[in-house]
């Protein structure tokens, strides 16, 4: 090691004679460097404000409109004049808003991780078959346990059962993701990887269908409803599992921004600069599987948020630097999911519009835009 650092040190402490090692004063003076640094701060602040607004709105709006002031006071622990409002807020709208915000952040982060790891702008948990894998895990856990009603949306087995379903979903996600990524490491073509992922997804999905069709009509109906996606099915009890699992998953991404940045250059460069690529890949896979698996288990296979959120976030902050991008994706994911949830609620009056109908409307144009914008078909090359 001493030889190493010595040799490196020589090169380092030998400053080029042409100039000193300081930023060009002109650049600092006209504020260009400074402005570039401040843009993310502004964007993140605005997004944070938007999260708060969307969150409050998600609690205000519903079949019964509760005034904003009352919502705030209920959230602060006060008792409103109408007791039913407190029940609505605590039992329905607060869990739903928390679920929506966290799920959006989780799906966005999982999408970002996949996009960076595969250097593929269209990778996301759904396209890579992770969501289908999670569905399979859920189906096996629920049907294997021989349960009848309500199990798919959780609740039938209590917390232990919820935990088991979540674990099965994570496992299912991982089991599908690993072969897809093994294939991905041998195939350089981004489109091919996505097609492989989609085919895996279809194959797994058909296994799930076969499993589910063999059961009662009532369960099939529930399965179809689950497939529409909803943030409304997670109870406040279940949040005790949901929140920590997603926080851990998001935490993995937040703790590895430096490594994700190195991976922007590709695995060979990342390795040459000192990244333990294998360990990083496993950590990222585990994190993304947890995020996509848990969300799928509790909210259904939600499409398009995973691919759309990272792109929109990148466009807002104007950089691929994960130190900025990860917080931006978390905040934007929360905002978009809350708004999608609101749109699903408002568009259909009392009943809920299938969430996936809304997320597809947001996500599909983003995907088309990305394909069209990609430099001379670089996405296909």
């Amino acid at each position: 090691m001493s030889v190493l650092s010595g040799a490196a040190g020589e090169a380092a402490t030998d400053p080029p004679s042409r100039s000193s090692a300081a930023p060009p004063i002109a650049a600092l003076r006209d504020g260009r460097l400074v402005r570039r640094r401040s843009r993310p701060v502004v964007v993140l602040s605005v997004l944070a404000g938007a999260v708060v607004l969307a969150f409050l709105l998600a609690i205000v709006v519903g079949s019964v409109t509760i005034p904003l002031g009352t919502v705030v006071s209920i959230l602060l622990g006060e008792t409103p004049e109408r007791a039913s409002w407190a029940v609505i807020v605590h039992d329905v709208r607060l869990p739903r808003a928390v679920t929506a915000a966290l799920s959006g952040a989780a799906l966005g982060i999982a999408g970002l991780q996949m996009q960076t790891l595969l250097r593929n702008p269209l990778a996301d948990p759904f396209a890579l078959g992770i969501t289908s894998g999670a569905s399979l895990g859920v189906a096996i856990a629920v049907l294997g346990a021989g349960s009848a009603a309500g199990a798919l949306l959780g609740g039938a087995f209590g917390l232990a059962g919820d935990l088991a379903v979540a674990a099965a979903a994570i496992l299912g996600a991982f089991v599908v993701l690993v072969p897809v990524l093994v294939l991905a490491s041998r195939v350089r073509n981004a489109a091919t990887i996505l097609i492989i992922g989609l085919m895996f997804g279809y194959a797994v999905q058909s296994v799930v269908t076969i499993l589910v069709v063999g059961t009662s009509f009532e369960q099939l109906q529930r399965w179809i409803a689950w497939g529409y996606g909803s943030f409304g099915g997670v109870t406040s009890n279940q949040l005790a599992i949901y929140v920590p699992l997603l926080v851990v998953g998001i935490g993995i991404a937040a703790a590895t921004t430096k490594q994700l940045n190195a991976l922007l250059l590709g695995e060979a460069y990342a390795k040459s600069m000192g990244l333990n690529v294998r360990a990083m890949r496993i950590a990222t896979l585990a994190g993304a599987s947890t995020l996509a698996g848990v969300v799928t288990a509790f909210c259904g296979p939600i499409v398009f948020l995973g691919v759309a959120i990272p792109h929109l976030a990148r466009g807002l902050v104007g950089t691929s630097d994960h130190r900025v991008l990860v917080p931006a994706v978390i905040l934007l994911g929360a905002v978009l999911a809350l708004l999608a949830q609101l749109a699903a609620l408002v568009a259909n009056g009392d009943g809920l519009l299938p969430l996936n109908a809304v997320t597809s409307l947001i996500g599909a144009p983003v995907v088309v835009f990305v394909i069209l914008r990609s430099r001379k078909g670089a996405f296909v090359a």
Binding site: V3, A12, D14, K258, Y269, M273
Partner: protein
């Protein structure tokens, strides 16, 4: 002599395929010292990239020992290797939306702490690297806006920001225009000489490599030769590696020429550039330059004004004022020697 920055003992590079080892080159003994600029030359498919990837520890060797600063590479942590070797590959750097400064900053990976925050020393190293490649002015530009040459310089700056003792580059000049190629080779040589780096670069620019490298590694058809460029020229290794029925290596000019035409004898008289250019025209048209005229030798006198010439063959005389006219004449002159047969 001091410890080589990079060395290899009986190093076998190649691929593993279904548990079989497929070496692409014979076992190599190599050593590169700080300050030395090595060019790796060879036809496509000769194993250049495989060797460079192995030297940069991105690919595992099939056998043998790779030493970095004297230490066995297998015993080093990846982050130590990151502080010792900077890698630059052929493909265009494609990283999405980052400024050139941020891209070079990625090279600080093995030095910065867990959070990836760049300190004062890191900023200084980044500016130093940008300065070394002459890309100070590109710092704030988006990497996507840069030309291929600028982008390649930023990528080299990124490798320099690692503050390595060794720089490994796989065809860094591949996508560059002629001017940028010359500039880049000059830069690599300067980095070796001024900053004491051990630089290993593969290239297809034989001409440039022969003019700028201290040492040439020559690979072809499973063979490997190392030496000063002039020694390899002298021993005929270049002709053996690259020559073919259609291509000849001109030892005197250290360049390759197409073997064309019948090689009828010609001689050029005159001074300076005019004579050189007239000779170039005749060679392109398949005439062979000879020292002494004999019967059937085309004698061209170049000059006195630029482009003017006078040609004589078997008593027939022609003259003109552009090289295009000379080329037409050289192409259309009837070949009596062959028509007689």
């Amino acid at each position: 002599m001091s410890t080589p920055a990079l060395s290899a003992e009986k190093l076998v590079v190649g691929y593993r395929f279904r548990r079989q080892k497929r070496p692409v080159l014979p076992a190599l003994d190599l050593a590169v010292r700080g300050g030395e600029f090595v060019c790796l030359l060879g036809p496509n498919g000769a194993g250049k990239s495989t060797l460079l990837r192995t030297l940069a520890t991105v690919q595992r060797p099939l056998a043998g020992t790779l030493r970095i600063g004297g230490a066995d590479a297998k015993t080093l942590r990846q982050v130590d290797i990151g502080r010792s070797i900077g890698l630059v590959q052929t493909e265009r750097l494609d990283v999405g939306a980052l400024t050139a400064f941020a891209v070079v900053g990625l090279g600080r990976y093995p030095h910065v702490s867990w959070g990836g925050r760049l300190g004062e020393a890191d900023h200084a190293a980044i500016w130093r690297a940008l300065d070394a490649v002459g890309a100070y002015h590109l710092a704030e530009r988006d990497i996507g806006e840069l030309s291929d040459g600028e982008r390649q310089r930023i990528n080299i700056a990124r490798a320099l920001a690692q503050e390595p003792a060794i720089l490994v580059l796989d065809e860094p000049t591949a996508f560059l225009d002629v001017g940028s190629r010359v500039e880049l080779m000059g830069l690599l040589r300067r980095l070796a000489r001024e900053n004491g780096l051990a630089v290993v670069a593969s290239t297809h620019d034989l001409d440039l490599a022969l003019r700028s490298a201290d040492t040439v590694w020559l690979t072809s058809l499973g063979r490997f030769e190392a030496g000063a460029p002039e020694d390899l020229v002298h021993s005929g290794e270049f002709e053996a590696a690259f020559g073919s029925e259609r291509i000849a290596f001109r030892t005197d000019e250290r360049t390759f020429r197409l073997r064309t035409g019948s090689g009828r004898p010609a001689i050029v008289r005159g001074d300076g550039l005019s004579a050189i250019l007239a000779g170039a025209v005749l060679e392109r048209e398949g005439w062979a330059m000879v020292a002494e005229p004999s019967a059937g030798t085309l004698v061209v006198t170049a000059g006195p004004a630029n482009g003017e010439w006078r040609a004589e063959l078997g008593g027939t005389v022609a003259h003109g004022s552009t090289y295009a006219e000379l080329a037409t004449l050289a192409r259309d002159l009837p070949d009596h020697s062959s028509s007689n047969i």
